[in-house]
């Protein structure tokens, strides 16, 4: 146990160092690409708390992600000069409100019903954002300028692609460590026991509904943070990101990378985005990349239910 713990931290440091050094080596395009993988990875990681640890498949993560984005947009548009920390606070508040709403209703249901209701809820927010043109900009979304990287009262510079990458990396790493700590805490253990056997967990005396609501909210908060990061990176918020396809891709990242591992979803996001990039380079922009990716996805569900990371782990342990 002690030994594997040590290898874990060595591996963690190696990967972190590679990610820190990467933007210094990579050309501009791939630098942005790597940052994007980290952001999508954070979104996928946030939904792993539900899919992998609590056993609830959420098809509604686009709502949390999107509201994080629009929250950040509100802060950046309303307050001048645009302030990064305010954007984060607004985005988190937006995501928290939505996830409280979704959690309150959808945790009354289990399994498949949970998946369907989260999907329908995300679609509600999509319709609202899409049709409420005066506030949300409707189909066109909102564009804003990027805030400066700042530590209040001490330090403030404009973002470059390198510093943006390091900032995102720092946030994602912090989130990863927090989520890892949460899943290993007594709270995380209760979530896992809900996944394994819900009636028994209830019989022992845990308020299962409350745990589920907290799990959904937690997951929503981290998804919202991913939305804020994405808004800061791309300087716009659009209803497309609240659309159900984003939730679907989040689930795909999880399944491809390996559910219940936290790192797996990031690997999955990287794998998916790289494959997509590769396909569109080989066959042109118009190529329907989701067709081959869909086939890979189905094949992996049937033959590789542990995902890439689970497969690699089993192969290493052999």
């Amino acid at each position: 146990m002690k030994h594997s713990n040590k290898t874990y931290w060595i591996g963690f440091c190696v990967v972190l160092t590679v990610l820190i050094v990467a933007p210094l080596v990579l050309p501009e395009f791939w630098r942005r690409f790597l940052t994007e993988i980290l952001i999508w990875g954070l979104l996928a990681m946030s939904s792993d708390i539900l899919i992998g640890y609590t056993g609830m498949i959420s098809f509604g993560h686009s709502a949390f992600f999107g509201l994080g984005m629009y929250g950040a947009a509100a802060a950046l548009l309303l307050v001048s000069p645009p302030n990064m920390w305010l954007a984060i606070i607004f985005g988190l508040a937006g995501a928290a409100l939505v996830s409280l709403f979704v959690a309150f209703f959808s945790t009354r249901l289990r399994d498949i019903y949970f998946a369907i209701t989260t999907l329908i809820f995300s679609q509600i927010f999509y319709v609202i954002i899409f049709t409420w043109t005066e506030v949300t900009g409707g189909e066109n979304g909102l564009a804003f300028s990027r805030p400066r990287l700042s530590i209040p009262f001490i330090y403030s510079v404009p973002f470059t692609t390198e510093t943006l990458h390091w900032f995102v990396l720092a946030v994602v790493t912090a989130c990863y460590l927090i989520l890892r700590r949460i899943t290993q805490s007594p709270f995380g253990m209760v979530l896992q026991s809900i996944r394994e056997n819900e009636p028994r967990t209830r019989a022992i005396g845990y308020p299962v509904e409350l745990y589920k609501i907290v799990a959904v909210m937690l997951s929503g908060l981290f998804a919202g943070l991913a939305g804020v990061l994405y808004a800061i990176q791309n300087k716009f918020a659009a209803p497309d990101f609240v659309y159900f396809l984003v939730s679907g891709e989040t689930v795909i990242f999880n399944v491809m990378g390996g559910i219940g591992t936290l790192v797996g979803p990031i690997v999955g996001a990287g794998f998916f985005l790289l494959l997509r990039e590769l396909l569109s380079r080989l066959f042109g922009d118009q190529f329907p990349y989701l067709i081959p990716l869909g086939f890979i996805f189905i094949t992996m569900i049937i033959f590789l239910p542990q995902g890439l990371l689970g497969f690699a782990r089993r192969w290493l342990n052999r």
Binding site: G55, I57, F105, S106, R108, L109, D111, I112, Y113, A115, I116, T117, L119, I120, Q123, I124, V127, I128, F130, T131, F244, G248, V251, I252, V255, P288, L290, I291, L293, G294, F295, F297, I298, I301, I302, P305
Partner: protein, 298 residues
């Protein structure tokens, strides 16, 4: 007294009657889609995410056959058959290996299928929508509107398909097999019923029903690659409100929700009328999570 008469005069009766008819027509089509979905769920424990895409594919095949032969009814029958075969093949390839695994994996697998089909349609047919011509162009007068007979024909046809399916389930040999499999899969297998093939058959029937509703509905709106998602979402709401796996409940819920949406569209624009069905869903989840049209268990 004056205020009361004024209130009664301000109700747009003509619009309410028109919207009632519209609501029943869309409700019957929705019932056809949702009954396939609820059938597949009730018997196979599979939530078919690709159901909307089967609906869309049916409509596209309808467009092609109609273009080639010029006969709407032939298009309806061929589209149902082809999509039923396709559905059966899909079930054999992707869902059969997943039998016995967590039912949640079937959501993922059918979601993958829906992605493939939707993008295939976009790639093959392009983003602009196609038109299916109405086979019956006659109208009758309804207040200031010329109401097409075709809409009433759709409602009647949907009802006929659902009704004949119900009779088949009650009295047909394969129908009895299906019901036996629903009740007890292992026992049915022991009695010599080929359970895996029953499951494939059920999926094929559900797919065929979705395709039929796609062709029937095609003339009312254009046929495009995103039409599936709207319908599958509505069908999901219907199935949750009506009680999962409950055929009668789904039909009642389909008509109920469509009527509400039609009435709402008198006052707000149709894209916002969708919110009404979301509200119904939320209220159902709050007060009757097992479904509105399910008898209270004693």
């Amino acid at each position: 007294m004056d205020a009361v008469t004024q209130f009664f005069q301000s109700i747009p009766y003509d619009q309410i009657i028109i919207q009632t008819m519209n609501g029943i027509v869309t409700g019957m089509i929705l019932a056809l889609v949702a009954s396939g979905l609820t059938l597949i769920f009730g018997i196979m424990d599979v939530v078919n995410f690709a159901h909307g895409e089967l609906f869309m594919l049916g409509a596209y095949i309808g467009v092609i056959v109609l273009g080639a032969t010029g006969s709407f009814w032939l298009a309806l029958i061929l589209a149902s058959l082809i999509v039923a075969l396709l559905g059966g093949a899909m079930q054999i390839i992707t869902l059969r290996p997943l039998i016995g695994r967590d039912p949640l994996t079937t959501i993922l697998a059918t979601f993958g299928i829906s992605l493939i089909l939707q993008n295939y349609a976009l790639w093959q047919f392009g983003p602009s929508s196609r038109k299916i011509n109405e086979p019956i162009t006659a109208h009758f007068n309804l207040f200031y509107l010329e109401y097409p007979w075709y809409r009433l024909v759709i409602a009647a046809l949907s009802a006929a398909i659902i009704g004949s399916f119900y009779l088949f389930l009650k009295h047909g040999k394969f129908g009895v097999w299906i019901r036996a499999t629903t009740q007890d899969r292992v026992m049915a297998q022991a009695m010599g019923i080929p359970v895996p093939w029953v499951l494939t058959g059920v999926f094929a029937i559900g797919a065929g029903m979705a395709a039929a509703s796609g062709v029937l509905f095609g003339p009312l709106v254009g046929v495009n690659h995103t039409m599936g998602l709207d319908w599958v979402l509505k069908a999901f709401i219907v199935v949750v409100v009506g009680g999962m796996g409950n055929l009668g409940g789904s039909i009642a819920a389909a008509i109920f929700i469509s009527l509400l949406e039609s009435y709402a569209s008198i006052w707000v624009n149709p894209s916002q009328a969708v919110i009404v069905s979301f509200v119904v869903l939320i209220l159902t989840l709050l007060f009757r999570p097992t479904g509105l049209f399910v008898p209270t268990p004693k």
